[in-house]
Structures are given as C-alpha cells and as structure tokens.
Symmetry: D2
Amino acid sequence: MSQKFLYAKHGPDDPTRPVQIGSAVFGGADVPVIAGPCSVESLEQLEEIAQTLKALGIVCMRGGAYKPRTSPYGFQGLGEPALDMLAQIRRKYDLAIITEVMTLEQIGPMHDRIDCYQVGSRNMQNFDLLKALGRQQKPVVLKRGLSATLQEFLYAAEYILAGGNPNVILCERGIRSYEPMTRNTLDLAGVAMLKELTHLPVIVDPSHATGRRSLVPACARAAVAVGADGLMLEAHPVPDQSVSDAAQAISLERLHALMGEIEPVAQAVGRNLHGEGSR
Amino acid sequence: MSQKFLYAKHGPDDPTRPVQIGSAVFGGADVPVIAGPCSVESLEQLEEIAQTLKALGIVCMRGGAYKPRTSPYGFQGLGEPALDMLAQIRRKYDLAIITEVMTLEQIGPMHDRIDCYQVGSRNMQNFDLLKALGRQQKPVVLKRGLSATLQEFLYAAEYILAGGNPNVILCERGIRSYEPMTRNTLDLAGVAMLKELTHLPVIVDPSHATGRRSLVPACARAAVAVGADGLMLEAHPVPDQSVSDAAQAISLERLHALMGEIEPVAQAVGRNLHGEGSR
Amino acid sequence: MSQKFLYAKHGPDDPTRPVQIGSAVFGGADVPVIAGPCSVESLEQLEEIAQTLKALGIVCMRGGAYKPRTSPYGFQGLGEPALDMLAQIRRKYDLAIITEVMTLEQIGPMHDRIDCYQVGSRNMQNFDLLKALGRQQKPVVLKRGLSATLQEFLYAAEYILAGGNPNVILCERGIRSYEPMTRNTLDLAGVAMLKELTHLPVIVDPSHATGRRSLVPACARAAVAVGADGLMLEAHPVPDQSVSDAAQAISLERLHALMGEIEPVAQAVGRNLHGEGSR
Amino acid sequence: MSQKFLYAKHGPDDPTRPVQIGSAVFGGADVPVIAGPCSVESLEQLEEIAQTLKALGIVCMRGGAYKPRTSPYGFQGLGEPALDMLAQIRRKYDLAIITEVMTLEQIGPMHDRIDCYQVGSRNMQNFDLLKALGRQQKPVVLKRGLSATLQEFLYAAEYILAGGNPNVILCERGIRSYEPMTRNTLDLAGVAMLKELTHLPVIVDPSHATGRRSLVPACARAAVAVGADGLMLEAHPVPDQSVSDAAQAISLERLHALMGEIEPVAQAVGRNLHGEGSR
C-alpha cells in the first residue's frame, strides 16, 4: 500500500486517528453507538427514540430525510421537513445528528442542522459528491458500496481526504453475494483488513448487512469483537410499522438489551461501550 | 412483472420501442454500433477515429470528457475542452456523439454539443442524476451497475421514464463476479431476460465487460446473436497508448475487421448491421 | 500460462484438438448438439426423444441415471435400470450416450453402456473421481464448478489429462452470482477466454445456465457465436412433466425450431451445425 | 423451515444439541478450539504442535493426511504414513484427531486412527461420501462449500443425518466473493443465521476464511462473539515453512496469545473457552 495515499497508515503501528461526531469519539478507547430510524417519520417518532438514546447514554442519532430508493415509486423520505425535525431534536436533546446526503444541493441546507453527513452505498463512487464533502469539515460516514472492493472503498475515502477534510469514518454494511437468506453478506474480516490499511475509524452497520432484526445483536457483538470503532443500528419504536427497512429495525427495548450485551464484549477487547453500559 | 411500470412490456408480444441517436435506430431491424475512445485525448485522435467510423458506416461516436475514476489521482478526463472537440467532430463528420454525464451541472453544457447522455455503472443509482435526465428529451444510454440486479436496472431506467423521457437505452457491460481473468462477467443471458421484460432497447459493451481486447470480437458476435439491439465498442488509433482502459480498446483496423465478422451474425438472427457491412 | 500443463496451448495458434463422442466431433468444423432429458424417466420417454434426435440429425443423447440432488429427499435418479434403458436406446438408434457419473463405483457398470462420462458441477473438484476417469479412455464432459475460476476449471481437466486420458471436453454451464432472475450466470466471455488458453473443446449448456426455457434459444445462438464447440440442451417430450429441472427443459418441437435458428449462426462464424440444419 | 428435516430446530427455543469430539463438547457452554497444521509434514512437526496444544489445554488436533489440491501437481499430502503419525500422536498425547476424508476408500483405514472426519468445502456436495459418513457414528465436521447457500449447507448435513449419524458439526470457512484482499469472505452473519435454523453445532475456521494470518485473531474473536460453538485454527511451528497454506497459519506463540484474547470474549457471551484460558 503506497504511502502517498492520505488514508494509508505510515506503518503497521500507526494508530487510528479518531474522528469526532458531537461528543462521540470514533477510533479511540470507546465504541460509540449511532442509532435511530431508517427514515424520519414524525417528530413524535424522533422524540420517543431520542429519549431512549439519552437514557442509554447514546449520543449519536441517525435518521434519513432523503432516502435513496430502488424504485422511483418508493417512499423517498420527508425531505426538508425531516431536516427541521432532526434539528429540533438535536437542540432539545443535545444529540449529534447523522443523516444521508444524496446530492450537492442538500449539503448546504443540511450544514447547520446536522453533525455528520452520511454517504450511502449507492453513492460511494459519486465522485462529485465526495469532492464536495471534501471541501467542508463536518465528519462524513462513508458506507461501503454494495460490491466495492476494500481498495475501491479506500480510494473513495481518499476523494474526501484529498479535498481537505480528514474527518472520514468508514462503514462496513454488508456486500452483495449469492446468499439469499441475508440481505447482504457482512464482511467483518474486511473490517479487520481495513484496520491494517488505514488510520481511519471503521464502524459497522449490522442492520443493513443482515436485513433481519434477529441477527443484529449477534452481528453487533461480533463487530465489536473484530475491532470495529463503532456501530450504526436501526431502531424504531414499533419496528414493523417502519415505513422503510422494517425487517431490520430493532425495537427500543431490544436496543436497550443489546447495549448490555455489547458492553462486556467491548471490555473483552480492551474498550468501552460509549453509552449506558459503560457507566 | 407489474404493468404499472413504464419500462414493462404490455405483454410478451409487445415489441421493442426503438430509440434513436442521431440517425441510428436502436431496437429496430438494424444493430447499430457505437464506437470511439474511452477518453477524449486530442482533436487529432478524434479526427482519426471519426474518419474510420465514417468509412465503416458507423454513425455514433462515444468519447469521455469526464471520467469517473476509482482513484482521485487518476486521469479525470479533459473536461470542457473535450466537449468542444466532440462538438467540432460532430459538426464536421455528422456523427452522433455519446458521452458520459456524471453531475447535474454537466447536463446543461453538454446539451447542445452532444446527441446522447451516457450514465455510467457507478451512477446507475444516482437517482438525482436520473431524475434530471428524465426532465429532458435527449436519449440516455444507461449502463448496468456493477452488481445491479436486472430488477434494479429496470427500476433505475424507470426513474428516467417516470420523469417524462422515454428515450432510454439499457447497456449491459458486465457484472462483478469472483472470476479474475476477465474484468467483469458479461451477462448475455441477462440481455435475453431484459428483452422479455422491457420494450426498451438493450445494447452490449463487450469492452468493459471483458477488459481484454482479444475477447471483444467473440463477445460482440455473441451479443448480436443473443438479440442485443446495438453494440458499444472502445476503439483507439493506438490502443496501447490509450490514457485509460488501454487493455480493452481495439485498434481501428480490428474494428474494421470486426464489422465484417458481426454482419453475418446479425443477418443470421434476421437483422442488419448498421454500418459498412450492411451495404 | 505455463506450458507444462497438458491442457495448455503451445502457442496462440495451437488449434483445438478435437474430441469425439460417437460420430460427433467436438472442436472441428461442426458444432454438434447433445440433447436429452435431465433424468431418464422411462423407456417410452427415451424412445420419443431418440426418434426426434434422429430426425434432427443429432447423434448425441444425454440422460441422467444418477442425479446429484441438493436435498437427500429429492429424486435421485432411476439408477441401474436407467443405464439399461440408455444402453437399449444406444443400440436401437445408434446414438452416442452421455450420462453423469458421481462415484468411482459407477464407472465400471457404465463403461459398456455409454459413450461419454459427464462430471457434474458439484464434482468438478472430486479429485478422486477425476483421477479415475483419467485412467480410462472414454471421453469426459467436465462441467465447470458452480463458482470455479477458469484456472481451477483447467486444473480440474488437468487431473484427467495427467492420468492419461486426453479426451476431455469442457462445459460452461453458468456460474453462481447475485442475480436471482436466472438460475446461474452464463459466462460466455469465459468460453472465449478458455479457447485462448486451452486446446480442449469447450461446449455450453444454456439450460442449466439460465434455468428458464424461454432463454435457452437466445443463449444457444450466442454460445455458437462466441465460438463454442458444441451445445448441451435439456429437451423433454412434455417439459412441464419433467421429474427434475422442469423449468429449463425445452420441448422437442422447440428443439426442432432451435436447430434451424442455430444453423445460420454457426455458418456466420464459419462452422456447421452437426444435425439436420447442416444438410 | 419445514420440520421434516432432521437438521431443523423444532422451534426457536430448541437448543443446540452438543456433539462431542474426544472430550471436547461442541454446542455446550464451552467453545473448544481445534488447532493444528494444514498438512501433516513429519512426526517432529506433530510432536511440537501437540505439546503446545496440551500446554494450552486444547484437546482437538487437526492435520491433513490427504489434501485436496486445485492442481494435480500440488502436494497431495503424505497419505497413509500421515495417518500413522496422527494415530501415534493421538495415543501419546491423548488428543482427539480430526482429518479430512476425500474418498470412500479412506473411511475405513481412518476409522481406528482418528476421532472425527472432516469433509472439505470441495466435497460438501459429494453426496456419496456424505451418505457413507452417515452410515457410521464418528462425528463429522462438514465445511461449507465455497459458494454454498446456507440452505444447501443444511441439506448436505441432512445427507449425513438421514443416514443415521447425528454427530454433525457445521463449519463456516468463508465463501467466494469478488473481494481479492482476503482469500474468502467470512460469513459470520451466516453463522448467526444457522444457529436459528439448526440444532447442529456451528464452528468457524478463520484461517481458510481469510488466508492471512494477521486477520485470524480478530476473526476468531468475532466468531466467538457471534455465537460460534468452536474454532478451527491452522497453527504451525514455523508458519512460513508450511508446505501448504503457509500464508494463513499462525505460529504456536501466536496461538498461545490468541487463547488469552478469546477467553474474555467467550466469557462476554456467557461461555468458556475450552483450553488454558478457561482455567
């Protein structure tokens, strides 16, 4: 791996360089959790989730305002009003907000209302978007493309880094394979490989990776054990009523229990869970 | 396959609805060829290719002004000056020009200089771009995403159709598989499947599909035999000196010979090659 | 590609070395067709198919006596009695018989009743079986493993060649990919690549590759156009009543029509169809 | 999942039914480790490894006598003499021996010298071999095929179970994907999925899954965290001198350290490591 790339470690002992979203530090001793709904549905929904997150010590909330949907007739997200709701929740609960950005036009309006941009799998090689996110300083969670190699993933991050923004967090969220039982194939060995190649923090999204809520807890534990620097989880007050990705969202009760399950795993690998469990 | 989708056939006998690029009709009795360099390099390069295309009866020229590159440090295309060169060639040789559009901002400047927009594999699910191309009427060659299912491919086309632009041509260009010897895996059965599902013309790009120039002629023949409505070929005066994708470009001499090889295959399946061979 | 391998060409111009099954020559000017049912079901079934094959000039019949089935509770083939039926048909109609061998124990009993052993995809790396087939001289149709690379495919052939049996025919039958609409992904560029690497004949099985009878004709035409040295087709008097792989078998009427469609494609690439069409 | 299959749980709360290899219980409170060389090379090699295993409290040793090799010219294992060495080590150190069986002929000679048969990935659908292993009672470690779906994997196990042998342990060892940096793609979500579908114990082989020794420890930890019932690890006194799969074997020192790393993870998920760490 050539050293001319900004993502590359200078040597095998070059440590992870932490990236902060709000008060959560990714790439350090803690393993912060980002949780929230696939799509923002209403202020009430966000309030209920936010209260749970606060109670669990989770400081990062995810929620989609604009949704990339395979079919043009699928629910495309509430858009601008959802951003306003997220901004309200952010102020009221002091939560760091992460939301997906799909176009250059959305970057500006989002800027004062959120703490971190998410680039989805379908846009991992939307180079124009990556370049634009490199010209600002808010952190970016970059999701691995559906069939991106690790090298392509790192090159996509390089587009942002090369623009002048060092605050990139990589997110493994499953790759496409022939296996039909899970939505995607979670590549945890890929996470371990990335940790060798780059100083960027690497987090894992077991919700999209599996597409099945029953598998999320086990995969979350495994992600922490493999060395992930954080988790991104889909949680919903009534998962089956989620307007998108219902099958993979866990309930707030399950999220609570999961925090307790992850904590000892984090400690087993010499880290702490950033949240209630770690108190 | 529900009939509510604009891409869908009304029934198994619903014919392909032709889409025209310049004087070339895709989806009819002819099998037109689109040929040209991966990247526009100079006016001289384009002149030399254009003269060959004219001599071969090929009326559509491809050439990249903006190049989506995996690494931010790769050659990104000549940009605006390349568009000007393409526009010059277009006027001088009366060739229809196809070039890749990567951003919304490029749509306008391209509009008067080209005849057809190409959406590359990496942008197949750049929904914002698809929507914008749906709001204008120039034809769009939509390339299949690197690991897109046929259903996702058709849904991506639907984004353009739903916007009001019926002029979409699908392009199979190989999908990602585990096989390392070819750059991608050409899915010709997928072409036959698409022809059952949609009235949209389907063309094949054997250059990107294989990544090896020695395989291009055989795959071009197979594409015509399977029922493809056209071919897109990378050709270069001195392939090994191509600034991008050198391994897969064929020489102008090989292009000449290939036209002669494809013609009888086209006739064997009841069609004509649009070009010299068909005279 | 090192020349120490027996499968390898001595140079790019080293021609295909033909392999004969009965009177059919694979790897020469003809493109012979092998057709028949997935499973041998009854003597009546075989009679009906045999008569059609004779009428169409097809001289090779396939039919499974032992079936490798994913589930232990699936139909496993009629076994020994099926071999007897095949032997009867062979004598009565002077057809060359190809059937799948799954175990070393089956090699002996098959020997005098058939003309060619078939090694199925699941056994492509059953090295013990390959070695045993290398110690006898009857031709072997070796099917590509479900996710075998071309290199692994060639090495599997080498096991047979190294044992002393030069009569190996490679068969591309689709590889596993993420695409759900077709049973497998037919890799025709892989066929072109194999033809560069080896002097062994390469045939194509569009039935297993697609798993959909409507796609078989187009893929058969494409296989011939890409340079395949033969075809293997599943045909059944009443396809929907086939005890196995019903969705992919074509009717005898469709087989008849298909021969007429393939013939001009074979001629377009400088070959002849071995069968009625070629008269 | 139909209940007529022997592999299936009777309900979501149906527990894992433990399978024993020697004194190690897979599927219970412990997470036993199986370790040893890819290939048996010499008695000295085995002695050195055996002493380490004993010191670490590991009671199961793996070692290949017959090796399935992609090329016929690759090292095929020492064969019968290796079985004798394994039998010697077994007696002297009271270690349970696991070795790969490739043919029916090998079953008998192995029977009194080993404790557990291993069926490799290439033979996962060698149904004849599976049936034969179902007719005896020694435990079988069944490795997932290179591109086997979970359903196919379970059906393969069913072949053994249906024959009358309930002692099957499933082993996830990575599946084939497009990613070139790791040898295979470790499917840990698949392990969690299997645990929902079957009462059979499921173990993980991070050595073959990754093909890189530096990734083995992290993946071993993740496997335990996801709920695996055991681990299979390649270890060698001098990994770089291993005659096969050298890149993925870990040293005996690394194995020692790894046991200490896995132990707390096992405890974090409510289990114990079967070995030194658990004392």
